[in-house]
């Protein structure tokens, strides 16, 4: 079932367009990961999805109904979505009162509030902190209480803006586990943004990539900064991350970044290092299996991710540590 449907959404701050999305569909009950560099428009998109700000243009439907961004309607919508911001805010009072805030607004009795708060804190393993001063908790504890506070309100969606960016590794794992548990046990849809592509692709059912306010398919992998370094006949020479040179029959104008489609990078058989085209040699450092795909991480002058079908994998049978050659043709290149 479709939860959100966004069409022709844009957001403008001053003269700068920070978001420009043609179409986006978010499905109910899934975890959606949103990847992208700083300033890509992730927080703006999350604020729009959380009904905290209205887009400049475009149309949004939530559970099949067109969203009316007038103040009167927004409050009802906000009660179905909770946004957990990058730097979570706890009111300067106890954990209990922080948790009770949203429940009180929704008219829960004192007894019900107590029961829900106990249950939610229990789930995140923070029940013993119920009387603690919330603003004095550590980063990891704060994130867990913030998730419990969101969970207590039984929303349809929890939107987490970089929930693991300011916590230690142990807390990161705990938070990721919690998000998965919340999604699986409670059926709450989760949208999370992150810089960590491995963490996000491991957790999310669907991954979206945002750059310069635009959505791209892929998982924020194989994205490189490029510059034009010369011309050879009809082709242009590009330098990737100042380390690898590609010869491509295209012009990227003033754009500074390209994405190499992991499905379109061709794995060559051993012994084909002199084949024509842009060749790259490297060692396989990671192999992981998805539902219908095999993901290879190749270390050469740059780190490259390749996606193979099981058939392709069995044809080549690359192993961890083995040397392989890949060919990057122009149809694998998207200019960002």
């Amino acid at each position: 079932m479709i939860l959100y449907q966004l069409k022709q959404i844009s957001q403008v701050f001053g003269s700068r367009t920070v978001l420009n999305i043609d179409e986006l569909v978010i499905e109910q009950g899934l975890i959606h990961g949103l990847l992208g560099p700083n300033g890509a428009g992730k927080t703006t998109l999350m604020n729009i999805l959380g009904f905290l700000e209205a887009p400049a243009t475009g149309q949004i439907t939530f559970e099949g109904t067109a969203v009316d961004f007038s103040r009167r309607h927004l409050q009802q919508l906000r009660r179905q979505v909770v946004v957990v911001s990058q730097r979570p805010v706890m009111f300067t009072t106890t954990v209990y009162k922080n948790m009770a805030f949203g429940l009180k607004i929704r008219g829960f009795s004192s007894g019900e509030r107590r029961r829900i708060i106990d249950e939610s804190l229990e789930l995140v393993g923070m029940r013993h902190m119920i009387a603690a001063q919330a603003h004095k908790l550590s980063g990891g504890e704060t994130q867990r209480v913030v998730l419990a506070r969101a969970l207590a309100l039984s929303p349809r969606v929890i939107i987490c803006d970089e929930p693991t960016s300011s916590v230690d590794l142990e807390s990161q794992q705990a938070i990721i586990k919690l998000l998965k548990q919340i999604n699986e046990e409670k059926g709450i849809s989760i949208i999370l943004s992150s810089h960590d592509r491995f963490q996000t692709t491991a957790l999310a059912h669907r991954t979206l990539f945002l750059d310069h306010g635009k959505l791209f398919n892929g998982a924020y992998e194989n994205m490189f900064s490029v510059k034009t370094v010369g011309q050879e006949g009809q082709d242009t020479l590009f330098s990737l991350n100042d380390t690898v040179t590609l010869r491509l029959p295209m012009d990227i104008g003033f754009k500074k970044r390209i994405l190499l489609d992991p499905w379109r990078i061709e794995l060559l058989k051993n012994g084909a290092p002199h084949a024509p085209g842009n060749l790259l040699q490297g060692k396989v450092t990671q192999i992981s299996q998805g539902k219908n795909s095999i993901r290879l991480v190749l270390e050469s002058e740059i780190q490259l991710v390749l996606m193979l079908t099981p058939e392709q994998y069995h044809t080549h049978m690359p192993m961890i540590g083995s040397s392989v050659s890949v060919r990057i043709s122009h149809n694998a290149v998207s200019v960002l």
Binding site: Q75, V83, I105
Partner: protein, 231 residues
């Protein structure tokens, strides 16, 4: 030196013995200062809150004007209020001149910018995240405002304390609008000025001791409240 020591000892004796005239002057001072502080808080806090909470054209200009008003001399405010409440003025029928109410009006005008600017500053320092958090947890406009107010409470309390500190020690408005009438409008500062004119230093020094003690206590309270806010 002997003159100063004698005067100081006599002043301390006056304070210790709770001299009737001294108590009367201090009571009037506290009464008018508390009244004007209360009134300025009633107007200044909501005003500061509205200015800070909303975005509108001319907001920066308004804040600049308020900041300028912080430096208004008390005698200028005294003169301004006098122009409205003197017998022949527009509010003359209310017979306010040389009353405690007149002092309260003048002092309220004096400290309204203090309360308003401190409130604006306190609320501006509150992270936007509080507003966003309250909204995403389902709060309406009023409930969100209540959250912001609660988070800024120490800063706002400090604004009120600072305003009280300003009025308890002012002399221009009390003298011009109160008239320094014994038992009615004589405040600590106007009494000190009068006693100095008369060459009677004992009461002046006794009042000075009380005024400095009050200012010191207010400052301690101010720093305590500000410190709580930073915890």
């Amino acid at each position: 030196m002997g003159f100063f020591t004698d005067s100081l000892l006599s002043a301390l004796d006056l304070v210790w013995s709770m001299d009737r005239e001294l108590v009367e002057i201090v009571t009037v001072s506290l009464k008018v200062s508390a009244g004007s502080t209360l009134l300025s808080a009633c107007f200044g806090i909501p005003f500061g809150f509205l200015v800070s909470f909303n975005t509108f054209r001319g907001k920066r200009l308004l804040i600049t004007c308020l900041n300028t008003m912080l430096a208004f001399p008390t005698v200028a405010i005294g003169l301004f209020v006098y122009a409205f409440i003197s017998r022949r003025a527009i509010l003359g029928v209310f017979d306010l001149l040389y009353t405690q109410e007149a002092i309260v009006i003048g002092q309220t005008i004096l400290i309204f910018p203090v309360v308003a600017t401190f409130t604006i500053s306190s609320i501006s320092q509150i992270d936007q995240g509080y507003r966003k958090t309250a909204m995403t947890l389902g709060a309406n406009g009023w409930q969100t405002a209540a959250v912001i107010f609660r988070e800024a409470r120490f800063g706002i309390a400090a604004a009120v304390i600072a305003a009280f500190g300003r009025v308890i020690s002012e002399v221009g408005i009390s003298m011009m609008l109160g008239g320094n009438a014994k038992g009615f409008t004589r405040t600590i500062t106007t009494a000190m000025a009068l006693e100095y004119d008369k060459g009677e230093f004992v009461l002046a020094i006794a009042l000075g001791i009380i005024l400095i003690s009050l200012s010191f206590s207010i400052n301690i309270l101010f720093h305590f409240v500000q410190g709580r806010g930073k915890e």
